[in-house]
Symmetry: C2
Subunit: 375 residues, 2 copies
């Protein structure tokens, strides 16, 4: 399979990349509507980030995002190809396979103001910096009403290549410490655009969850263990009770200490730090395995003939850019807040205040259900 | 003020405590309907907890809670005094001021099964134990339609005394590592009972957020600092920009790295590890200050004449039972997911997957609004 990448630039200077997987390639020059000449204001500038002294975590302040597009009507969808709706979209082409572009309302941006002080109010307890980094949008298909689960394996494979490409590019940007590719799906978790898409955040810091994983993985290795995620994978494969599906290169399982009413991890058998490091065979199998997994998720609360569209967060945990490459293995984590049709799991006092999760089910039940709904 | 505590026992053996603040005391023997003789099944037994090897956190599995009471009609409210509705409630008295009892559907319980293995599937990576501890419910008032903000200062002070009493008692239970008093308010965050109430969790482990705070506070002191929370309070008082209100014993401020669209911390000026350690003057002022604060929260998105009931989590961070008593200062954290009327902040990919919070506002704006809506 050949994927052709074509770069374009939007009216406000943001970058866009088409990933076309089928000849004759649909996007790029041949189908380009016009250069994007929308009268956009300047591209989003970085806000501020501040370190919370009580948790050690960086918190991003992005007050400008209050104005972002919120559930537009379908004929004003900014992610459809231009020319299809009543207004020009973010994609100046009449068709595309997969497209990635810089978010117009970014939480993190390479466009950095020069007036962010190094400390809030001059206090050493509060380090501060520009919210530098980059946020990109990944459109999985030009079909407004599609879903990731309805992609062909070829198209899913193109999405994987796009993630890998962007991970490599963004990792090379000055100041980027970690790249996170993810999909939020469902109005239940606040998704404001219905068009099937994911996002990529290039963080200027190692994310809190990964910071903790680095500590634990280093301790595990110092204690004579292997790479921690790989050892957990091996234990799940030995135990078997929570394995959902297994291929030659990937295994999906519900983690032994699952904290969400639906949670599944998908882990490669080989130690790779990120998506860019996957070889062709691993990418090919991933496309098939991932599609099977998300299709089963829609049957979790329904059945094959009457699926219940599951809201979920699917996030790729990748090793940080410059450290822990041999400690942190690539891993997909899919979680859902839907504990029953119409009933959500909320993060209330124990979870949001104290970080102590209560799960009203067991990992073994989740896994049994995900095996039961195999095609 | 004299608060009389009276102990009772429910039909399934659970403990209940009345806290009466006004003579002649309304609850207890005089107004007791009957001994509670509801045909309840056995009191809730502890589920299991497992340690997540990738985060180090204990996760509680409470599959039996799936059956808990979910938004009952008002005349079947289990938190109203018995005799008021169509079925006997959890409170076998015709009236009460403040009452606390063991949760009928507990996430954590002192009633511990003896068949929980020490490891999941015999794997050293997955420590396991019974979800021991205790969960209690705190009814702030017998008025089904009331709110904490509508309590008199006397009644609010009684709630504070009840929290302090329960913190002391639960801290003395074998195996309890930390006590967390909190109020979840609003259907938006999953509250399943409308009657004004809070909860208390007595955890068998130090909660993840506090574990992290202990590390940071120890590092801060080792580096020549004082107690970390106290030093943050001093910095907020020096800066002033985020201070919401200040009394003789307490200051409320929006933290410099607030991660929620509405967030405020309320911290005592004296170093105390928990609610039980507050003296009378501190408790008296707390009642007044806390009431003022929650009343302002309802004006955050509205105004004094047309308040918008704010969903919130109000949680008391207390020092663990047996450690860090001089490192962790008592602190109330109130947060809300309501970023505008009808618009919620969701924890999506960045927050729930990576622990990296994006806040679409600034702490200074939140504080300015909370000052603006002073009575």
């Amino acid at each position: 399979m050949t994927v052709r990448r074509t770069r374009d630039v939007l009216a406000d200077g943001r970058e866009l990349f088409y990933f076309d997987d089928t000849e004759p390639f649909v996007s790029g020059a041949a189908t380009r509507v016009v250069p994007d000449t929308r009268p956009l204001g300047p591209a989003g500038v970085a806000g501020e980030r501040r370190r919370d002294p009580l948790t050690g975590d960086w918190v991003v302040l992005a007050a400008h995002r209050m104005d972002r597009t919120f559930l537009p009507p379908a004929d004003e969808c900014p992610l459809c190809p231009s020319g299809r709706g009543s207004v020009p979209s973010e994609v100046p082409s009449a068709e595309y396979d997969v497209v990635v572009f810089e978010n117009r309302f970014p939480s993190l941006s390479t466009r950095v103001p020069d007036d962010v002080p190094a400390l809030v109010d001059g206090e050493a307890l509060w380090p501060s910096a520009a919210a530098d980094g980059r946020c990109e949008v990944v459109c999985f298909t030009s079909d407004h009403d599609g879903t990731f689960g309805n992609l062909t394996p070829t198209r899913a494979r193109t999405v994987i290549d796009a993630w890998a490409d962007r991970t490599a590019d963004l990792s090379a940007l000055t100041g980027v410490a970690q790249v996170f590719c993810f999909e939020n799906r469902g109005a239940e978790i606040g998704v404001t655009l219905a068009h099937p898409h994911g996002q990529i955040y290039a963080y200027p810091f190692v994310a809190p969850r990964t910071e903790r994983l680095l500590q634990l993985a280093a301790g595990h290795r110092a204690g004579g263990g292997g790479d921690l995620v790989g050892d957990v994978l091996a234990a799940e494969r030995r135990a078997g009770a929570r394995v959902v599906l297994a291929g030659e290169h990937w295994t999906a399982y519900v983690p032994a200490a699952a904290r969400w009413p639906v949670e599944v991890h998908l882990t490669p058998h080989r130690h790779v730090p990120d998506l860019a490091a996957l070889d062709d065979a691993e990418r090919d199998e991933l496309a098939v395995v991932y599609l099977e997994l998300v299709r089963r998720l829609d049957r979790f609360h329904g059945d094959p003939s009457a699926p219940v569209r599951l809201p979920y967060v699917a996030g790729w945990h990748q090793a940080p850019v410059g450290q822990g490459r041999d400690l942190v293995r690539l891993q997909l984590q899919v979680t859902s807040v839907l504990r029953a049709p119409g009933k959500l799991k909320y993060l209330a006092g124990s979870e949001s205040g104290m970080g102590a999760f209560i799960n009203d089910t067991t990992p073994e039940r989740i896994a049994a259900r995900l095996r039961e709904v195999a095609a």
